[in-house]
């Protein structure tokens, strides 16, 4: 069985939801602690949402210096799948595993909504079970989710197909080019602001046409990674 680590930082909120999503997807969830320097041989890592270190300095900036991140960065650069969700995405950009930055929402308010996304790249480890152009809905909740990057970086991301998810209908935070998630050149590291781990179990996900709170589309990111890991064996 694949083993997927979830790093808990002081102030992480969604670590247990991420662990649950991993278990529902069919893998073993391995809790990892920020101050450890041992990834315990996991096959992939999820950096969960929350407010690590109270968002002091900049969102994700202090977590990016956590001891365990040295190993996460080394393994990510060697091809290990890493998914950063919300604060985890912020940690990935502060760790320079992904380019650009995330700033306060342009309207100045925290936003919490069920968000429609379009898959722009189905070749990453975390999106291989999707089709390009496919749309799905997962919860989104952030105060500092506005994606920004220099013109050059944006050109590079768009030119290389490294925008993975784009907001549809509503751009909830002023992100450039409606960017909701991006990947590295290799496609093993993905960061996104919306929360797939909150849409994995009927009764607790977003509403769908079929039934209230029945949306489980978020599960497909985790299944994608597990399929990729199995294919690699």
């Amino acid at each position: 069985m694949s083993r997927v680590g979830v790093v808990t930082f002081p102030g992480s909120l969604d670590d247990r939801d991420a662990q649950r999503a991993i278990r529902i997807a069919g893998a073993e969830a391995v809790p990892l602690w920020h101050a450890d320097h041992d990834l315990q041989g996991v096959d992939a890592v999820v950096l969960p949402g929350g407010f690590s270190y109270g968002d002091y300095l900049r969102c994700g900036a202090i977590a990016a210096q956590a001891r365990i991140m040295r190993e996460v960065i080394d393994r990510a650069n060697a091809g290990m799948p890493v998914l950063g969700i919300c604060n985890g995405f912020q940690i990935l950009v502060e760790s320079h595993l992904l380019p650009g930055g995330l700033i306060r929402n342009d309207h100045g308010s925290f936003v919490c909504r069920d968000q429609r996304l379009r898959v722009e790249n189905a070749d990453t480890v975390w999106t291989s079970d999707f089709e390009v152009g496919e749309e799905f809905v997962v919860p989104l909740k952030n105060g500092e989710g506005g994606y920004i990057a220099s013109e050059e970086t944006l050109r590079e991301l768009e030119g290389e197909g490294r925008v993975v998810f784009r907001y549809v209908d509503v751009n909830p935070n002023g992100s450039m080019n409606d960017i909701a998630g991006i990947t590295n050149a290799r496609g093993n590291v993905v960061g996104l602001m919306p929360h797939p781990e909150h849409a994995v179990e009927p009764g607790f996900g977003p509403d769908t046409d079929a039934a209230m709170r029945s949306g489980v589309d978020g599960l497909r990111l985790f299944r994608s990674a597990l399929d990729s890991l199995l294919a690699r064996v």
């Binding site: 300095l57 900036a61 950009v93 650009g100």
Partner: protein, 97 residues
């Protein structure tokens, strides 16, 4: 003490500054037409501020205290020159009194 000042990049929207400007407007203040909010770090050092210490602070300012994607380090200076600035300010306000 070494003071490091970091500001959001001028070309980026600063929603916190924008919200503050809105509050200023509601107070009836009209002379202020823009607000941007940055950060000031006060670093105390053990011993004298040598060129080596300053170089270390510069590296820290670039690598940790600021994120060059969204922010600029606008100033690194010794608090003593800041004190001088305070004195100048006091002198200026004295004139207007």
């Amino acid at each position: 003490m070494i003071v490091v000042e970091v500001m959001p990049k001028p070309e980026l929207l600063d929603p916190a500054g924008k919200a503050t400007l809105g509050a200023i407007g509601r107070l009836g203040q009209t002379a202020v037409e823009g607000v941007r909010i940055g950060k000031r770090f006060e670093l105390t050092v053990d011993g004298p501020v040598t060129p080596e210490v300053l170089a270390e602070v510069r590296a820290l300012a670039d690598d940790l205290l600021s994120n060059s994607v969204i922010e600029d380090v606008v100033s690194i200076h010794l608090a003593s020159s800041e004190d001088l600035l305070d004195e100048l300010d006091e002198g200026a306000s004295g004139e207007t009194r």
